[in-house]
Symmetry: C2
């Protein structure tokens, strides 16, 4: 075990001993429970096994495209048992941060959203006003008139004090230009998360860190990210679930978000699954920055007899 | 002159002496001759004054959206005298680089373009095959079918060996996903230019470096840029115009592209105009990395009596 990471697959006694150490398991979703719309075999059974052992499960996702309610539907569609209150997404994390930490005085707390409906739903849940986002009137080409009205400020909402970016499947030049103008005017820059890739269909597609990249480049500013591995998200999770960090294990597929998130948060354990982004080569062999406490080929290996 | 940069505005004898040093003037366009679609006052007259003194003019632009022919029309619309052969854009520079330096064997020299018509026209002028770009069938939302066909490779052109990005006013998630897939498959990554901002309507909008940023973030790769300050562009200009670098002056509005381009290229002089991106504070006061030989408030100051 020169790598410092324990390989659990196919070792039932090591698995039992590992599970015994924790009361709470925090799960990343994409790349761990499923890839895109395809559930991994044995996901539901493995989670059920953990519930039967009295473990508390929390689903921590950097995916900003879905609200908690929408996320619940995704679990339902794959017949994976889950409660809305067990879900903690980066859009919810951002909404909590804006409403409870920033506390900007209305109406100057309005948010310009570069992202999809999941962000808007969570902002609504915290009664935070917003523009942009899914606004259909912005899904079009930029016109000469737009250049003028953005330059003059006529097209900008005077109350916007925050620009919040997440994964935007409908990113376009007009929406980037508006976000850039708000940032140049002094708006605070937040991101639900900055994962550059999105695992889907057994490969990778552009993530929130990619669709937000034009704004970062054009403004020369870096957003404060509210998703993993930001400890602002860990603090919010701890506040909501009152967990004992030493008896908590983070399970994920990415070293630089999930595993780092668990290590920096001082959790008792971290478990990497090899069904997503990171590979064994990324952490085995010594000299690597982020090493999980243990790893398995796939989540279902935890339930194998 | 503690800054090392000579201020020429309002000093006719210094101006005359400066102009006398050079046979050729390389001009950046956006932010120097005009901003967006508005010509600066006195641009045409100043260029005419230089022509009357026997100077050769070359218009060197990182703007990748226009071919040389289209660029000529922009000059015409503003009544600025100019010849197509005097124009050297970053799309032309990229096409030259691909056809004359890379020399990939057909059909594997096909280019996936993330950009607009100017790039395609210049690739055509060098007989380089291309896909993407202005293809109307890609100006739409991404579908579930697209995810599958990109993941399986079915939607990818087997001959694409190069991804070339420029300023794309029609950037979208589908086009980014395709570019990312080609890069993951091993395509070479080129950019016409990586300016993060585009001066227009007296303010700044997202530039090529912004609309290319999603691909850079998602792929984790940096493109080779063929626009200023890349010396690949200077070499191409020198090859075409047979200029004497010591008798050549670069005129521009950006320190980190135009002025750096001239300094790294060993030109006899560099002249900054303050009608674009860079400000006096960016180079005055000592300790600054890139300092122009001289500067004027605006180009027309060269022609003032």
């Amino acid at each position: 075990m020169s790598s410092g990471s324990q390989y659990l697959t196919g070792d039932p006694s090591a698995i039992a001993e590992f599970i015994e150490k924790f009361d709470t398991f925090l799960f990343d979703c994409d790349g761990v429970l499923w890839s895109g719309s395809q559930s991994f075999e044995g996901t539901a059974e493995t989670l059920e096994m953990l519930r039967n052992k009295g473990k508390r499960l929390v689903f921590v996702s950097n995916n900003s495209t879905k609200s908690r309610e929408e996320y619940k539907k995704k679990f339902d569609s794959m017949n994976i048992n889950c409660n809305v209150e067990e879900i903690f997404g980066s859009s919810y994390s951002a909404a909590i941060y804006i409403s409870r930490k920033l506390r900007l005085s209305p109406p100057k707390n309005k948010v310009y959203v570069l992202g999809v409906a999941g962000i808007e739903t969570e902002l609504d849940s915290e009664s935070i006003p917003h523009v942009g986002g899914t606004d259909e009137s912005l899904r079009r080409e930029m016109t000469g008139d737009d250049y003028e009205k953005i330059a003059s400020g006529e097209m900008l909402d005077p109350d916007v004090g925050i620009v919040l970016t997440g994964l935007d499947f409908h990113v376009n030049y007009l929406k980037i230009s508006l976000g850039m103008a708000y940032l140049r005017r002094g708006a605070m820059f937040l991101a639900t998360n900055i994962d550059t890739t999105l695992p889907s269909n057994k490969t990778l597609f552009p993530g929130a860190g990619a669709t937000s990249a034009p704004l970062i480049a054009a403004s020369g500013k870096e957003p404060l990210a509210l998703g993993k591995p930001s400890q602002a998200m860990m603090d919010a999770i701890e506040g909501k679930f009152k967990l004992d960090r030493k008896r908590t294990c983070m399970v994920g597929d990415r070293l630089n978000t999930d595993i780092q998130f668990g290590i920096e948060g001082g959790l008792g354990g971290t478990l990497l699954v090899l069904t997503g982004v990171s590979t064994k080569e990324d952490f085995l062999g010594g000299g690597k920055e982020v090493v999980p406490m243990a790893y398995v080929d796939k989540l279902a290996d935890l339930a194998s007899k």
